[in-house]
Amino acid sequence: MIDFELTHNDQKVLAAVREQSLVCRRYARHYDENEHEFPPDALPEAKDHPPAYAMLRDRAPDDTSFPVMSMLIVAGESWGDYSVRMRRGTGGLGNAALRAAGTPEQQKKWGGLTLAMAITEPGCGSDPSRVQTTAVLDAASDEWVLNGEKIFVTTGCRAQGVVVWATIDKSAGRAGIKSFLVEKGAPGFIVAHKEKKLGIRADDTAAYVFEDCRIPRGNLLGGDETIPKESSGGFKGVLKTFNMTRPAVAAIGLGMAEAALDFTRDELEKAGVAIEYGGGLHTQSAVVARFLKLEALFEAAQLTVLRAAWLSGQSQPNNLEASVCKAKAGTAVRKITQGCIEILGPMGISREHLLEKWFRDVRITDIYEGTGEIQRMIAARTILGYGRDELS
């Protein structure tokens, strides 16, 4: 049955997440202004707060609400702050790839490490198929030799290892692209610098250089059997891991946008401006009409995220919906945070408040994990029934 209400228990879980993330928020400004520091793995207050995901553990294994709740939880966390968390999980983006494509031996060996995912290169942007980093098998030593540069690697400084996309055969295009597991400290693997950014400044975004970096042959993700395939199946396997990361990234952006809306509503109310829903254009003030528009936009974007997550919980394909919600949230959070500053005026541009930080932080949403343009490309191909050759 169509339903948009949370169970009593889920409401409690999310209330706990919000409570925790409000604690995290106290540290938000500090790590924004001191971007060379990393937020700690656990805040001193962590022991007083139960981990949110733990509260979901009691569920039946076939509980289909897990993906939807996950989205609401990550949104609740970023509502507090993007970068500061009560406890930092050990999983990076690379861990998702490992789970999706790793051999049992790889799972065992690397599963305990935090793994970043290194895809983007200085010249390739949102086009992972244009990866220039090369991996050449040295048959003599039975090692892969990696050469190339990677940028925008999330958790790249602190991860213990990384899943690197590299091509083993440039002439093969997408089919030649494989993923490799590389441990920090491997010879020739250099963490070049932490990126200085508009927002999410506390966040660990690294640039890597690989110079004749040698790794064991067994570090090819999925093992040697991924090589002979003529199809781009291996590539698709990796792309498939995006189906929940796109909604998650959208949810994270919306968590911050909601924080901006909540702050704006509170400040308006303090100034005697009440938000009411019954009236029309002719009975609203300009500022209330503006706010209502932003709030509706938030609701709309949030529902597309929940829809994509819900499909995943139903084990239904959600590739289109993952792109829809990422595209929708990507633009929504830009407009919402811009609009909140417009509503609050000078108050919105002062670093005394977090609104200006949310404005900066959310801007990443429409860029990473595939820009809005990439998401529209995926969505357009799907609804038009077009392949890559017909629409690019």
């Binding site: 209502l292 509706a296 529209r376 969505a379 609804i383 038009l384």
Partner: protein
Amino acid sequence: MISFEPTEEQQIARDAMHEFAAAALRPVARECDESASLPENVLEPMHQLGLGSTQLPAEHGGGGEARSPITNALVLEELAWGDAGLALAAVAPAAFAFAVADFGTDEQKRALLPLFCGARFHAASLAVIEPGPASDAALPRTLAEPKGAGFVLSGSKRFVPLADRASHFLVIARNNGGQDAFVVPRDAAGLRIGQPDAKLGLRALPTASLELERVELPASARLGGARGCDVRRILDSSRAAIAAALVGLARGVLDYAVPYAKEREAFGQAIARKQAIAFRLADMHIEVESMRWLAWKAASRLERGLSATRAAHHAHAYAAEQAMWIADEGVQVLGGHGFIREHPVEMWYRNARTLSVLEGTLGL
């Protein structure tokens, strides 16, 4: 628990309505628009679908099924996909009947509900919109003054659906500082029903103005009797229903534009293969989805008996804006063909603008 899954019954109803809309509404939509007429032979089959009566109480002749704003939103999306004007005509009486079922006294229910459960379509509707540019459904200027045990109603209503044939109107009026709804029979003394409105769009839906010149009503005309009714709830239902209709309208545009753009060639290839068109179609799809979930959420809150003013506002305001945008872009995708009446898109452009400025006319 959050779910986007209609029940099996809802899926069946939705599929049936879609078939009906494709087979019975689409073929006549253009003619109804050009002639501004609502043929009986379209209306009666829609009545046979049981749109309104199924969810009216069995004791008053209805189907006795539980009221489901969600089912109704699904149904309305499909019908409005077929034609928004005809869809609104078909469901307008339900707005009246549901308000009576929800808020009416036993006496009112006994007197009025059986009218809608007969073999033939029965017209009645809500009278909400008022003249002038600065009217607001939530703040009617039509006034109910006490007179003896009853009331005297004075004011004007505009764009009242089915006014040419309705047996009763549910007139929203100010009463004693608050708002109330009054059952006004067509033949009430002092009630003048205007000529059919000539409209930009939704021309299949007949509407007209009502002038209420000191219309005297007994106490029993007040919906809910001494208790009154929740006018806000009626308006929320209306907003949610219009939102659902706008989803159907917008989806119709998208469903038409996608194959058109794949077939139409310019500069040597299908225009859909150009990013400017393809990405716009993607955005149209994104917005149809967004609109639909907002409409469902409002319907869901109504169905659960929760406050729905906020959800209904967002659903309606968002759908109104996006449906307008989608219809506008639909015209643009078709170019010159979007401007001529050989294609339905220009009609949808008019319907979108018309429907999205209406508030409070329906209510499911």
